[in-house]
């Protein structure tokens, strides 16, 4: 699309009375140029088996076409109608908890043949019906697809077949690789395969999760191909990816390999829900955006984000606008709210949209009017923002699964999961105004980066480790944390010196680890008086060539290194043997980034003034100065001469940029 999209999810189906005309008028006023429809509305689209009703779709398409508002049509498959479950009870996913009861969305077995039959039919009917409508610019296949714990008999049969294939029919090879002899779990015939839901074998468990993620890839690729049979050349296919959920979007999604699924999409899309009010930091917006942008290394769509959302998310004055432009600052070409109005019944009555239950012009809608019109005015300067980041974080669904089965455990009360470590690192970079990409363990382009970060890359194939070692040897800067390179892709712990293959690269080894009770850190970056504590988990690192940057302060563990630094080939490798405070982490990163000549975005000393940038479609450098605080802030205008886009004013190097609370400026180079 050659324009910024500012949109809402719109459900004519949920309206308590006919609102369409009035709603379109309010959208126009707010500069809204996009609606997403049809997603999750199967029961109105196909009220009975084989009976289709395009009433709501047609009237919305007509209205939008007339109003000049674009439409993304969602396939309705993520919530099944009751008649389907009545006719084919086997469409329900059987999970560890057994068979579910009909009611919610996302309760079906995405491999079930009846579900797939009905899905195919409704998608074909829908595509035939809408594909030629001028207002339809693209399609969203399903929504926030995951595997919903599906583990019924058929799924397990397919899993056994998959394993047979993986191990070329040799069950003893599986026993060895997965360590099945333990607790008498070894199989000596594929026919003996037990219900995998009961397994206590982490290798088998993780493999099953990987297999389940593969089901999501298959399912979405199949939908994309189906839609592809119909869609016009100028229409795109996207998906609405979501992230690990901790009452808001938090980290890498456990149930989907976003990198794999993205191959079938034209545009990567996602939803980002985040704390706001005094807790608005922009972190989730940036994290989710950077991850989604990295999938296709291109601009992306934010297909859902909150308008009012939950009670505790109602934005302060200015925040809705700050949020919208924060998405653009990450490279989004689309910001879409879930959803237009607040629903009057059912489950998400209090996940409120742009409009409240009374449909009146409330404060939040009022701010959307400002945003929409600014986007219209400035769109050509903001569209297709391109970044050339020099730092990359390697993220891995497999490491996440591995550390779910084998958590980073300190004392019994203290556990850290994979995403805790990912966000520990990412958030520090974010607060320092260092932008980064994400890469998968399969990435072949490591050399595009100066710095590669491995947060808790627990289980990883040797070929990736070899690639990482080469990256370092060739001059890259490598930063690895504890629990990296500990196990192979089958979650079998490597039985030589840890970290496997990278031991030489980091110039260290260790074979004991424990938890840091009253253990502090000292060394180049802090003295023992500062009481910087080792946190949660600590490895007892012995240097083999590396320099000790920080060592433990403890009666028993004082003999070991906590953080080390090593020269390897033309490169450099830093290893973090334990977790510690973000403050200390930023000190360490600052040093390291200087070393490898990665410069933070200019003009700010860091959070709460966040600077994000890139080049727009005219090839001009653009910087967003975002103030995530309730206080006025200042920033320094970077080198050069700039136009501040909202005001049109010229800003020159050295000038002070005044940022109002929860507000932003955008500089474009002249």
């Amino acid at each position: 699309m050659d324009e910024l999209l500012y949109g809402v999810a719109y459900y004519d189906e949920y309206m308590p009375y006919d609102r369409l005309e009035k709603d379109v008028a309010m959208m126009k006023k707010a500069g809204i140029n996009l609606v997403r429809i049809a997603e999750s509305t199967w029961s109105t689209l196909e009220p009975q088996d084989g009976v289709f009703d395009f009433y709501h779709i047609d009237r919305v398409l007509d209205a939008m076409e007339e109003a000049g508002i674009h439409v993304i049509v969602g396939t309705p498959t993520y919530a099944i109608p009751a008649w389907m479950e009545k006719k084919h009870p086997d469409v329900m996913a059987v999970t560890k908890q057994g068979r579910g009861i009909y009611g919610a969305r996302q309760i079906m077995d995405i491999t079930n043949r009846h579900y797939l039959f009905y899905s195919e039919r409704v998608i074909r009917k829908l595509m035939e019906h809408v594909k030629d409508r001028a207002c339809v610019i693209g399609y969203q296949i399903d929504n926030e697809t995951k595997y919903y714990g599906t583990a019924g008999e058929r799924v397990q049969e397919a899993f056994t077949a998959y394993l047979k294939d993986k191990f070329r029919g040799d069950v003893e090879a599986m026993n060895r690789e997965f360590g099945m002899n333990y607790w008498s779990n070894a199989l000596h015939s594929w026919e003996d395969f037990p219900d995998v839901r009961g397994t206590i074998n982490g290798s088998l468990g993780c493999e099953f999760e990987k297999f389940q993620r593969g089901l999501v890839t298959e399912f979405l690729s199949w939908q994309a191909a189906l839609v592809g049979e119909y869609k016009r050349e100028d229409q795109f296919v996207t998906q609405n990816f979501d992230f690990e959920w901790r009452n808001h979007s938090f980290g890498v999604q456990p149930e989907v390999n976003h990198f794999h699924v993205s191959k079938c999409l034209d545009v990567a899309g996602c939803d980002i829900y985040h704390p706001t009010q005094s807790k608005l930091t922009g972190k989730e917006i940036a994290f989710g955006g950077d991850l989604t942008r990295s999938l296709k290394q291109d601009n992306y769509y934010v297909l859902e984000t909150e308008a009012q959302g939950f009670t505790q998310w109602v934005p302060y004055d200015g925040q809705l606008r700050l949020q919208a432009f924060s998405h653009l600052a990450g490279g989004a070409d689309c910001v879409e709210y879930w959803h237009w109005h607040s629903i009057h019944n059912s489950f998400e009555t209090y996940w409120r949209g742009l409009l409240s239950h009374d449909f009146a012009e409330n404060k939040t809608y009022g701010e959307a009017v400002v945003i929409g019109n600014e986007m219209k005015r400035l769109g050509s300067h903001l569209l297709h923002l391109k970044k050339e980041n020099k730092a990359a974080i390697m993220v891995s669904n497999e490491a996440l699964s591995g550390l779910k089965w084998f958590p980073i455990q300190g004392s019994l009360e203290q556990k850290k999961s994979y995403n805790d470590v990912v966000r520990w690192i990412y958030d520090a970079l974010y607060e320092m105004n260092v932008e980064c990409d994400f890469v998968s363990p399969e990435a072949e382009n490591l050399e595009d980066y100066k710095m590669l970060i491995l947060p808790a890359l627990y289980c990883v194939p040797e070929e990736t480790l070899v690639r990482i070692r080469r990256f370092t040897e060739n001059g890259g800067c490598l930063l690895g944390t504890f629990k990296t390179a500990y196990a192979n892709e089958n979650v079998k712990v490597y039985h030589d010196s840890q970290p496997h293959i990278l031991s030489e690269c980091f110039g260290i080894l260790y074979n004991q680890f424990t938890y840091p009770e009253d253990t502090y850190l000292e060394g180049r970056l802090c003295s023992r008086e500062e009481k910087e504590g080792a946190e949660v988990f600590m490895e007892c690192i012995q240097t083999k060539g590396a320099e000790t940057v920080l060592r433990y302060v403890h009666d028993n563990w004082g003999q070991y290194a906590a953080v080390t630094e090593n020269t390897f080939g033309k490169g450099k490798a830093v290893y973090l043997g334990c977790m510690f405070s973000p403050k200390l982490l930023k000190k360490l990163l600052e040093e390291l980034l200087k070393d490898c000549q990665i410069h933070p975005n200019p003009g700010s000393c860091g959070f709460p003034v966040i600077v994000r940038g890139g080049r727009n479609q005219m090839g001009k450098q653009v910087y967003y100065f975002l103030n995530y605080s309730g206080e006025k802030q200042e920033a320094a205008c970077p080198e050069g001469t700039w136009t501040e886009l909202f005001s049109g004013e010229t800003k020159r190097a050295g000038e002070t940029l005044l940022l109002q609370k929860w507000n932003l400026l955008i500089l474009e180079e002249q």
Copy 2:
């Protein structure tokens, strides 16, 4: 009954050896003139299918008759014998958790035809056997009846039929009213009705709970009719209602519509279990009593309350007596302990009765001796206490269900339920010595009151709102809290200005609400320096004619009102947009009560000296002065000349009344 009843539940069935004669002697000594028997003893009464054994009943009736002790006979239906479940496994309720396992009480499907068959037979046999016994003064049907989550196939069929009826066969009407289109839940044929246990639709979920409460009404009405076929004219039918349980009796019962059930009863009865020792406040006694008295607008029976109870309930010296007279102060004509002795086996071994396991005269029994003899002596002055309260609280099972599905949510960690708000208001009035009644949303007698209070009346039909508006217009004083009049009786949020219909009456509207992070209140009743915080949840109120009593102190929310006051017709309407401290609430209530000329009971500045009163059967004003503290307290003798009933002393206006710790005085006008 024309005498005060002082009783115990008596289970000859549970005795480790023959105690009857000794027990009767000890009862007589303690002035006990009532026992309740037979409740929950089905397996001894009907040891095998169709075999009846009246051994225990007969011998207790004989003994009581001889001793002149009254008997309430309970139908035994709330605990089924094992043989019934063996023969008809379908008597067990199927709930969200599936079918239960036999063992506990209250595990059956109260609509099951086998259960009903056996219930009818045992009730008829029992009634035939006992109805002519002189000592039998009345019957308790079942016990603490609820619906026990019953949701099996038959129940669901009945529910579908009920809905068909409610919507006159029009499934689309249901879709619209319940918002079933959401997440593809719409039904286009009644045959597609899915298992309601899985529903995520709050409207459907609440309707099912209402239907289930209806099952309780049906079941108890059926039992009452059955008993009615046999009972003598001078015998009554009662039920032992219980309340929302929070380790003690707390609030409105979610599973029973007490107002509806009461229609089939002659006397309303309840059980009240409450904290004691340093936590004895009298609140639960007053709350449960006021609610039960309101059901039939008449005196009521406390059919169960604790003697020793749990470990933490063993009363301090004086407390058992204070408690007993507190019940009478609320209008109870009967105080009965659960139970006489402490059971030597099974589940409630440590829910101890008046006697301990050793059957000796312990401290608690010693105090009962005092109480029983005082009741006998003063009974005619205390019986049939009548109240003419001028304030009423409207309570609603529907609002309770609605706010269970859609809790009053602030931050993620903070939730308030319906009863939290009801008790917030009730407890403030109680502490101020203002007595009140309860009314249901169906009440036609609102004009009997000067003041009507609506705590979180979340979902409510328009006709009730119209009645409330009229009450105000005609000169009533209305106090409404946040979350009132937000949804209709089908838990469909009203789509115009909130609060629906009452918006004009309160002179306000709002369409946003959030949670009060560091948000304080200021205005007529407190300054910002007092740091009175808004708590849990807050509505952003815009006045439309109302005066702002309190506004929010907050950088972003300072523009909104928190508490408002409006003149409407001849009346007045105060709206509370958020929760706050009981202290501030009492300040506000004080002002408002003065305005509408409701006067607290005289003589005390409030808790811990509680004054409750009414007119006795001689038409004389009576005041109880209750000291709920471990310290001596003073009160002032009200206007007039009084007899203190315990001592017989005359007290005159202005005299100081000395209240010993955990003790009371009773004044009767001369």
Copy 3:
């Protein structure tokens, strides 16, 4: 065995590559002279139904035989292979949670005929194969056997038969004894017996647990007999008992009657896992050891204990050695680690062995080398340590079950379980350096002791109480706590004065109890100013001849005694009516121990310097001086002349013994 055993569990089956030769060499270096094999490896031993494969067993036996390392062979029955569950799904235990899913260990019904058939066959095959191997010194039957909640149909049929037998066919006798009339649970025909998993009757529930413990006794006795058919005279049979688990070994095992099972064993064995690092106190080592030693009143084997274990258990320098000798100080003749290496897959990947995942010589292994060689050098002085303790604690599975059903409850938030009380007493004695034995309620040898302690002996048959009374009358010193002698062996509360039978012996009675809110203690041992609080639960004790040692300080409870002392016959009986601080408990014990002339081990003022002792096989007194702290400590050399075994130095009375941090000395009399 006539040598100290220092061993490891060894699993050739779990090795990622062939390690045997290297491992044996490392073992020899460390002085390891024992491995335990085969336990839990059924799927490698019998890869398919009836196909046996002794590959791993043979090669390990060959290697060990050659190396002169002893072998304990474990029967593999505690983890079933997948083929068995595939063929006979009914081998899985049906529990309260229903049927489990295959995967973990300890999931089978130990009474299932298929499981028993396969168990018998594999044991016979295994025994035939290994019995004549010279290196095999004994057998471990199963492992950490429990009943795994087994409660399927067959088990319940057997339970009904057991009850019929217990009550000689008289179902009414059961009703009476168990109080089944309550809540209509009475049965009037054995055929009506309902699913016991649903019972709310504590007597029935406890009886079922007793029955289930009986199943464990039966199962293990059957295995012992089977093994006994084959084993050589010089080979022993043992079991690896474990304890109540609270993230480490804590107290009396709820699911096994260790006293009963031990009858079928030649040597009692156990595993002990305990906190270490700053939390290493030696308490669990001593407790588990004393309990296991008491089973056969003989030396015992520690068949599993941690080497590195969990993250938080990695020992500080010196601790592995301190731990090993602590076991010997309790009378262990064997210390064996679970396990040799750290496993590379599956469930217990991070329950690390002596070697880490890299198999290199790590710190922990380095310390084992020291230990093993010291044991070899000093073994003859340390083997077969005999104790003659004068204090005994009576422990009871039945009391544990009883107090699980009826917890020691104070306020709602506060509960104490049986083992809390047992450890409260035990730990105080331990810290005072007073060693003790454990006895069962069936013990006939009470007269062997000067002092008998009854911690919360809740339910207990009258014959035991009579025996205890006689013990006291004859001059014994009796110490009983609250909740002792309250119910009979059928968990029927005694209906006369509490404590039953012992009321006279203690010179007290009580019939009320409550919880101690702001309740303090005063009397001979402390003044009210010291604010020694009564904790959790308190009985309102009236003395009948006893002297009050401590009374409650409380406005309402001040009239009652808290701790009493009585002379009874030639003996003395002290009763504790509530819990209180360990400090006050030790004061009380100190007085009492002096009275009955029990002397703590000499040389230390108590924890952290623990002194444990006994006589070695040469008949010489030996004392271990154990320093459980990270600071140097001093102790005093006891009367006499001694050889310090590690250094060979002579120590004389009055000399100061210097104990390095986490270190020990051993004195043997000259």
